[in-house]
Symmetry: C2
Subunit: 183 residues, 2 copies
């Protein structure tokens, strides 16, 4: 069985070098110089912070959308994908109080979150990790990890700008944007 739980840790050395770390909303994370990604939950964290997330079943994607996604997406670790981003976000209690149909409406019918991501495939590979239900007191709800080629950095900015301008992002109360290059 492939692992679903991953730990992202700020570290003093490691395969990913932080080139920029920006607080987009809410409380900042301490600045990191390197990032280490481990499957599972390591016994001790090597640096100032450590974030855990678990991949899970899709919460909004419908059958036709999944077919379209699967036909275009590529996995992590592609040759040439030497740029990466880790974007932890937390959504507000107002988001979590919405019902399933209301959340889907904001996420896709209003914000085109799924469609937007699809427009940037296969260039922008991603893996979504859920944190909110790991425990009672996780600092973020989601960790999204992106990988792409240096020449697609502009595309990645375009995708982030579109998402951050969408109605869904009115529910994001904490967000940090960490850009990295493979070391």
């Amino acid at each position: 069985m492939s692992p679903r739980l991953f730990t992202f840790s700020a570290a003093h050395h490691g395969p990913w070098v932080v080139v920029n770390q920006t607080t987009v909303a809410g409380a900042p994370l301490p600045q990191a110089s390197h990032l280490r990604i481990q499957a599972g939950a390591p016994a001790s964290a090597p640096g100032p912070w450590s974030l855990r997330g678990i991949t899970s079943n899709e919460r909004y994607v419908e059958r036709a959308e999944r077919e379209a996604l699967v036909s275009r997406q590529v996995g992590l670790g592609q040759a040439g994908h030497t740029c990466a981003a880790l974007i932890p976000i937390r959504k507000s209690s107002a988001w979590w109080a919405l019902t399933q149909d209301e959340r889907r409406h904001v996420l896709e019918e209003q914000s085109q979150h799924i469609r937007l991501g699809m427009n940037y495939l296969p260039q922008i590979a991603r893996r979504l990790h859920h944190c909110r239900d790991l425990s009672d007191n996780e600092p973020f709800d989601f960790l999204t990890w992106f990988e792409y080629a240096p020449r697609d950095t502009g595309l990645f900015e375009e995708l982030l700008n579109a998402l951050r301008g969408s109605p869904e992002w009115a529910y994001v109360e904490r967000e940090t944007d960490i850009r990295l290059v493979g070391g």
Copy 2:
């Protein structure tokens, strides 16, 4: 903030006495004599097994359904609700591979899971706990805790029989049914 993570532990003493424990599907749990429920994750388990689950946002309920549920449901701990049941279930990988629209279709359009539960309100109080995304290797996906009055035991059996006969239950690969009385 009210706790969301709960631990259900088999114990030698405790406020809930097990009156019946049946394996419905899959691997059995060791027989328990008493059950203890604690908020959070206790440092050590008092008996042969311990199951953790976390309450979370609803995954299928739509706005109109929530309004109907809220207008009828009652909380746990009602006077006279001296009967209880803990029903841990695990669903198959086929369930988790379905898309959101497919899972909703099986759960409600085919199986009337939400509507069935509503028909037994306010007599049967319940709290659903999610386990699957707590870690990579939880023994169950869901723990549902029910409370009701002794006179409503027949109603509770009726509800369980309806659910177990529904298309959704074809995806349940492990299920234990533990009945208790307040001690």
